[in-house]
């Protein structure tokens, strides 16, 4: 029997532990956080952090070649910054604390605001002149998405809107007109007809789950019922319109049983498990490939009976604020170039995202492309009935998941919409009060 117990409390041991702790704390003083004053850095090299949205690495390399041809004294360094927007933000977070900031970084709709609020990214308006940016040529709603406190903190790059995808074959079998529904009320009538056509184990309509941005896709439908997540900073989850929308969602799943919340909606749609779904226009290529040879894919606007019925999404390009002014100007030149008419047309044709410049509409390759691909035109035409996203979703960190989870509860667990939405509102409000209001400019 061991008489010497684990000597965790012997005096020598205690001294040793204290010593180690002291040493550790001392070391933390040496290399703490708050570094990243990357003022240095070569102004002639532009480091571009991208997750290549829409598998666009080759396209981005081509755009870089075009840029370097036009500005021979500048070089662009394309960095693989992750496989999705979130990983780019992670890498950016690390750089903000540790150093080695990029010149241009891809930030999506839910990520950019926090960096603007903490002044980590640069308000671009004062640099527009030096870099030759013509703000007016950018599609108004797309550029307005990055407005905060009267300034633009990013410019649109890979922008999408949700589309209403529907299975034309099933639509025909159900005797429905070859178009999307004009309102969600109309779809409520179509739903059961579609359900009887598709049969058991399949659905007339599939909603993504919270992990797959239910909070994003439901925003538009919510508006058509007169509801909203918020009006600027005023939360509206418990407005009668929002509750009506949530009730519609719940009933379509649990009462009339023609809809479902599913983990992989694009797969479900492409294989015929769901007859319709709402997904990003960036998924158009992939969805068509999944459905190839099985059925004909139709795209339509989301219902918008009384004003905007759909949001926008995707990512823009931002510039960190803690780099030198020379670097910022060159970075903005690069941003301006890759989003100019010809280049945004090129990018959007090959990915499924939308062109971000008004003048791209008259670009010959674009005109040609849209004539041959009417499905792509739908997203662009839909822009006129889009609205910027509600603050509650995009400006509040973590809110997207809270909102999506709330709708999951309503749909999957048949929960009472008023109660659930009240809790969502309370949770979101708590975050706003704690993290945002103190930082808002007075």
């Amino acid at each position: 029997m061991s008489s010497q117990r684990f000597p965790a409390l012997s005096r020598r041991g205690f001294l040793g532990l204290t010593g180690a702790a002291a040493a550790g704390l001392a070391l933390t003083a040496c290399a703490g956080t708050g570094g990243g004053s990357g003022d240095g850095g070569d102004a002639k090299t532009i480091t571009f952090w991208s997750n290549h949205p829409g598998t666009s690495k080759e396209l981005e390399l081509e755009l870089i070649n075009r840029f370097q041809a036009k500005y021979p004294d500048l070089t662009v360094n394309l960095v693989d910054a992750g496989k999705n927007y979130e990983e780019v933000a992670q890498k950016f977070n690390a750089a903000l604390t540790g150093g080695d900031l990029p010149d241009v970084v891809v930030l999506s709709d839910v990520w950019w605001f926090n960096y603007a609020l903490t002044k980590a990214i640069e308000p671009l308006d004062s640099h527009f002149g030096a870099a030759g940016v013509q703000l007016g040529d950018y599609v108004d709603s797309l550029a307005a998405d990055y407005l905060f406190d009267g300034k633009h903190y990013a410019l649109p790059y890979a922008r999408s809107t949700p589309l209403f995808y529907y299975n034309k074959d099933v639509w025909a079998k159900a005797g429905l007109p070859d178009r999307g529904p004009n309102s969600w009320q109309e779809f409520d009538e179509w739903g059961p007809k579609l359900q009887s056509v598709v049969g058991a184990d399949k659905f007339a309509h599939a909603w993504g789950d919270a992990k797959n941005y239910l909070g994003w896709t439901f925003q538009g439908p919510n508006w058509t019922f007169g509801g909203a997540y918020s009006d600027q900073w005023k939360l509206k989850f418990t407005d009668p319109g929002s509750i009506a929308a949530a009730t519609y969602l719940r009933d379509s799943i649990n009462v009339k049983k023609y809809a479902a919340i599913r983990p992989q909606i694009a797969v479900d749609f492409g294989t015929g498990v769901a007859a319709s779904t709402i997904a990003s226009t960036g998924d158009l290529k992939g969805i068509k490939k999944n459905a190839d040879g099985k059925f004909e894919v139709g795209t339509a606007f989301l219902p918008h009976p009384n004003g905007p019925g759909v949001t926008t999404g995707g990512a823009g390009l931002a510039i960190p604020s803690r780099i030198s002014d020379a670097r910022k100007t060159n970075a903005l030149k690069f941003i301006e170039f890759v989003t100019n008419a010809a280049n945004t047309a090129y990018f959007s044709q090959n990915t499924g995202y939308m062109p971000v410049r008004k003048s791209a509409a008259t670009d010959p390759s674009e005109v040609d492309f849209l004539a041959k691909n009417p499905n792509s035109k739908v997203a662009i035409d839909q822009l006129s009935v889009t609205k910027s996203q509600d603050y509650a979703r995009v400006f509040v960190p973590g809110a997207d998941q809270i909102i999506g989870t709330g709708y999951e509860q309503i749909g999957l667990q048949n929960a009472d919409p008023a109660t659930v939405l009240a809790k969502v509102a309370a949770d979101v409000q708590a975050i706003i009060d704690r993290q945002i209001t103190p930082k808002l400019p007075k």
């Binding site: 684990f6 965790a8 480091t47 496989k83 604390t97 540790g98 999408s160 998924d283």
Partner: protein
């Protein structure tokens, strides 16, 4: 295990039954473990249409080994492989050496408070990745080592698991052998290499393979450190095959092909090393 007593019929029957049971159990295990593995392998050979289909397809309608071509050509696969080999090789070698040395010191040498030292070392196993990366990023960036091999390798070299494993094993070695070697005047190096390590074959193999696997699959740290394909390792680089916003439009064929290719080198190493996991290596100097 030889049976010394009379070999009765019932005993023989029992032995056969047990062996048969052994084979049956082995088959069961193979199925449970193997089916998902099989699924990964078969998906890597499927055409896109066969992946996104209902009901599930077990045998592809058309074989699509081009997925492997796609995985290795659309991204700089061989560069990533080379980088992975370098990073994993160096880190594993350093960790192995440090682990063995640390364990030796903790078991065979005297030092005041060395059990505290041991506790301190295994406490390192309790610190998750997410906490360490930001702080280490700051330090490495200050040293200017971002996007370099040394920046990726050095922070990964501290070893707690291996030290624990080898210390555990060294403690179980027969004291008489050690004492005998010391009486023969062996210095520490002789003791380690001529006496201790030869009695530790299987455990060394276990240490080596587990470390190799962990370093080979390391993702978060190389991801934050690497900016270009020059130093990016395989797990980081292969995500280039997945750059879509919506995972359900990714073409999983090439991604699974990439996964299989990533798996193969380590499996080959394991196949080679596990042959050493046989009885007889540790019977050493003490016979029954």
């Amino acid at each position: 295990m030889k049976h010394v007593g009379p070999q009765t019929l019932s005993y023989r029957r029992r032995e056969r039954a047990v062996t048969a049971l052994g084979y049956a159990a082995m088959a069961c295990v193979l199925i449970l473990v193997g089916v998902p593995l099989f699924w990964i392998l078969i998906t890597s050979l499927k055409d896109r249409a066969d992946i996104y289909t209902q009901p599930a397809v077990y045998w592809p309608h058309s074989w699509h080994p081009e997925n492997y071509g796609e995985a290795t050509t659309t991204v700089p696969f061989w560069t990533f492989l080379r980088n992975s080999l370098i990073v994993t090789g160096v880190v594993s070698a350093v960790k192995f050496a440090l682990g063995v040395f640390s364990a030796y010191g903790l078991v065979f040498l005297r030092f005041p408070g060395k059990n505290i030292v041991f506790l301190v070392i295994i406490a390192a196993l309790m610190v998750p990745n997410q906490i360490t990366v930001i702080s280490n990023y700051a330090l490495i960036a200050q040293l200017g080592w971002r996007n370099t091999f040394q920046g990726i390798i050095i922070p990964l070299c501290g070893v707690a698991f291996g030290t624990f494993l080898m210390r555990n094993h060294f403690l179980s070695l027969p004291g008489e052998v050690i004492e005998a070697a010391r009486m023969d005047g062996a210095n520490w190096w002789r003791l380690l290499t001529r006496v201790v390590l030869p009695m530790s074959g299987p455990t060394m193999v276990a240490f080596a393979v587990v470390t190799l696997v962990n370093e080979w699959n390391e993702y978060l740290w190389p991801f934050l450190m690497a900016d270009s394909a020059e130093v990016a390792t395989l797990p980081v680089g292969l995500t280039l095959l997945q750059n879509t916003e919506n995972p359900s439009v990714t073409n999983w064929g090439p991604v699974m092909a990439g996964t299989v290719l990533t798996m193969l080198p380590i499996l080959i190493v394991f196949l080679a090393l596990q042959r050493h996991m046989i009885k007889g290596l540790t019977s050493g100097a003490v016979k029954g």
